[in-house]
């Protein structure tokens, strides 16, 4: 490290610092349609996510594909700009508490507003510029899933790993080569690999090169986006051991994005479970695995095969992941939840979700007039279809909880009115020390 690098940052591992604080982060992608490419809606890939990463800590981010975990990782890395909220870097504990108290106020006074503005400018990643941005960039590095796609096939290992050092003017010439050799040695490669191209390496070795490149500037935080999912299990074991060793040596913080629960259980101190863009549950690893509070976490755990378990059968999760452009009301998991209650946010779209697979129910649907997500008129081609829908809605074909939540079901000739009890979005509630879950049930 050069002198400039050392003074730019407080000493490693100080207790009163969080490496990263994510606050109410949202990333929406517009859906455009028509010749004029008018925005007709948004895909809410990430919607109101908050968590902290402490120095030397590993936070695991898990969820199904399409739940927004990679988008979140990209926002944290500063590769895409968040729509809402922000990623805060280099906050001390006192500043973080001040920030949290400012953010929790709904109607801020002018002085509070300006204080928040100041904090934002200094610490929010997407507002940073100049030196602050450079400092963030060198302290936050990414290792991608596809090591082949993330290494330039036309560059030598020496150039790939030396690139960050060159960009940040840390070394040049023979000194650069020596630094690269040092880095390669740390990830288990040697001087003989300096003048080779990425295609001359195996998958595991390429992932080691990616790790060496990420470590070149001695960062505080490394974002690992599925670093081992393209690797064989014996190679995965080598990489996981290496990552752990490096973390011990350099006191790194990891944001470990993965869908493999056995890996995350092995590596993470804290786990954040995401579902359709929101946090379903977050807490210390042992608590999440031993006493999950959210039915989605339970379902994820039950569906992943564990080589240790002998008797427990796999339990599959019904239904498909909802469309993030039209996320379900209330609790987003209620459409697939095995223990859903009437207050979980049943809505008009659920009628379609449950019944579109029943033959002949929606073939004659003509239109929907919505008063709110919970209240709508469905009009059909003929009276028989309307009557049959009403009959199905009263029958066993739909879950008991949904029938209870159904406040009004009126048939008016060819139209059916469906009205459910309106419910607010389910918020995260505290379930234990550092353990939060977004579920209406409290099963502690």
């Amino acid at each position: 490290m050069t002198a400039a690098g050392d003074t730019a940052r407080p000493p490693r591992g100080s207790r009163d610092e969080v490496v990263l604080a994510v606050r109410d982060l949202g990333k929406y992608f517009p859906i455009r349609e028509g010749a004029l490419q008018k925005v007709v809606g948004h895909i809410k890939a990430v919607d109101g996510v908050s968590f902290d990463i402490a120095p030397g800590q590993t936070v695991g981010l898990v969820g199904e594909s399409g739940c927004g975990k990679t988008t979140l990782g990209r926002c944290v890395a500063g590769l895409s700009e968040p729509t809402n909220g922000g990623v805060y870097f280099g906050l001390e504990t006192a500043t973080k508490e001040r920030l949290d108290s400012l953010l929790s106020v709904t109607e801020r006074t002018a002085s509070q507003e300006s204080e928040l503005e100041q904090l934002d400018n200094r610490h929010r990643v997407d507002r940073m510029n100049g030196d602050a941005w450079r400092r963030y960039r060198r302290n936050c590095q990414v290792v991608f899933q596809e090591s082949f796609a993330s290494l330039n096939p036309r560059q030598l290992v020496k150039d790939i790993v030396g690139r960050p050092l060159r960009v940040h003017r840390e070394a040049s010439g023979s000194q650069l080569t020596e630094r690269v050799v040092e880095l390669l040695a740390q990830v288990g490669l040697g001087r003989q690999h300096l003048y080779r191209f990425p295609h001359q390496f195996s998958g595991g070795q390429r992932q080691r090169i990616s790790i060496a490149r990420a470590l070149a500037l001695d960062p505080e935080l490394v974002i690992l986006d599925e670093p081992t999912s393209a690797l064989d299990v014996s190679v995965q074991a080598q990489i996981l051991n290496l990552l752990h060793e490096l973390q011990q040596e350099r006191h790194l913080a990891y944001l470990f994005i993965t869908h493999d629960l056995s890996v995350v259980r092995h590596m993470a101190d804290r786990i954040v479970v995401m579902y359709v863009g929101r946090v379903a549950e977050a807490g210390p690893t042992e608590v999440i695995f031993d006493r999950p509070q959210h039915p989605y976490t339970e379902a994820l755990l039950a569906s992943s095969p564990d080589v240790d378990a002998h008797t427990v059968d796999l339990q599959a999760l019904e239904g498909a992941i909802p469309d993030p452009a039209l996320p379900p009301q209330g609790c987003r998991f209620h459409t697939r939840c095995a223990v859903a209650t009437p207050t979980c946010g049943w809505e008009v779209d659920d009628v379609v979700r449950w019944l579109e697979d029943v033959e002949g129910t929606f073939d004659t649907l003509r239109g929907v007039t919505r008063m709110s997500p919970f209240d709508a008129w469905l009009s059909f081609e003929d009276e028989a279809a309307a009557a049959s829908l009403a009959a199905t809605l009263r029958s066993e074909a739909i879950p008991q909880a949904m029938r209870t939540a159904l406040e009004e079901l009126t048939v008016d000739a060819r139209r059916v009115r469906v009205r459910f009890t309106p419910v607010d979005e389910v918020q995260l509630t505290v379930r234990g020390s550092e353990h939060v879950a977004a579920c209406v049930l409290d099963r502690a």
């Binding site: 195996s202 064989d232 299990v233 051991n241 056995s262 890996v263 095969p305 498909a320 992941i321």
Partner: protein, 443 residues
Amino acid sequence: MTLVGSDGPAPPALAPAPVASVVDLRVHFRSKAGIVHAVDGVSFDIADGETLGLVGETGCGKSVTARSFLRLVPMPPGIQAGGSILFRPHRTCETCSGNGCAVCHESGRVPDACATCEGAGCETCAGSGYLTVDLLEIPEQDLRTIRGNRIAMIFQDPGKALNPALSIRDQLAEVFYQHRSAELLAAAAIDGEAGGPAGTLIRRKAALRSRLLEDALLSLPPLRARRNKLRAAADDRIVAALAETQIPNPRKVMDRYPHELSGGMRQRVMIAQALACDPDLLIADEPTTALDVTVQARILELVRELQSRHRTSVLYISHDLSLVRRVCDRVAVMYAGRIAEVAPAEQIFSDPSHPYTRGLLAAIPATSHERGRLVAISGTVPELINPTPACRFAGRCPFEAPVCRALEPEPKPTRDGHQVACFIHHPPRDAADGVPTFDRQVR
């Protein structure tokens, strides 16, 4: 069809015959650096109605082995360097109509009798009396009657394996037209034997042989009714096949294209396509690798359920040991083009005998492991270019001894149903000084 005999000793008459036996299979590839021995002397049996798991790391030859069953390995650059894959078609037992009786050993299915000797035992079937086909030898036309009909395959990525330009209906109709055209004609109440140009046209349509002009003729009023009847008959079968894989509302799904379906649904369509003709053997090449864990669990459940209902034998290829434990009866572990160990699934996990299997199991992160203390297998998979006769695992094996570098171990039985290719279990007679044991660890 060419009929060949199996090399092994003749089984007693009416003993349950394995549905397929791979005997000393060798598939090599030509490359600039030399000949790559991708599969080098692999032998195993798949018993009727069982699920055999084939596991190993990337590049160990498991997919090449599976593709050899249907001759899907491109040649060149591939070279068929020897061995055979013997396939014995089965049918439902007539005595009990599939319920299980003494004749079929309670399995409900019996192997087809040999065409030459009608079950008496002759040279072509090595005295077994069963119809035996060498999949590597038979002519291409005969193989086409087996592919997708008697042996079906599901692939890793359903997004790539389904034709994006065809609707799900056309995708599945192909299978029925190709292999069940006589049944379709019968179901549509069309006289399959009728002479004249009209009969020929509809027959060609049902066998998927019609050309553009013939299709145009069939869409004209005098023939249209018959064509529509044929289509309706095919549609009924497609709906039934889709419904069997628990696809909701199959009549609606039928008209969609692959990109309109989710990954799990696409995999279901592929399974429906594979099981459409009720095959004897289903080859599943990493069917859930591209799917989420939650979807994977459902697909596994589905494969298991359909397998037990149809009594289909399954060759299940995977790199994930924890998955294989859930679905397979027996497991074969491959390493660098050779079989390292074959054993009943429970034994592989409770008592792994080959050092490589032990290493693989230890590398899976489990609750018992302290962080950073995963037992990785040191080194990398060897290059398979012109290998020397030595144990392929020598160099990475923690129990290596001098004999491992000098001789090549063959898979030999150790105990009930367990086969291991390792000198720890079968020390060669003339190398007493350098024999490996589990007690002596060299690295």
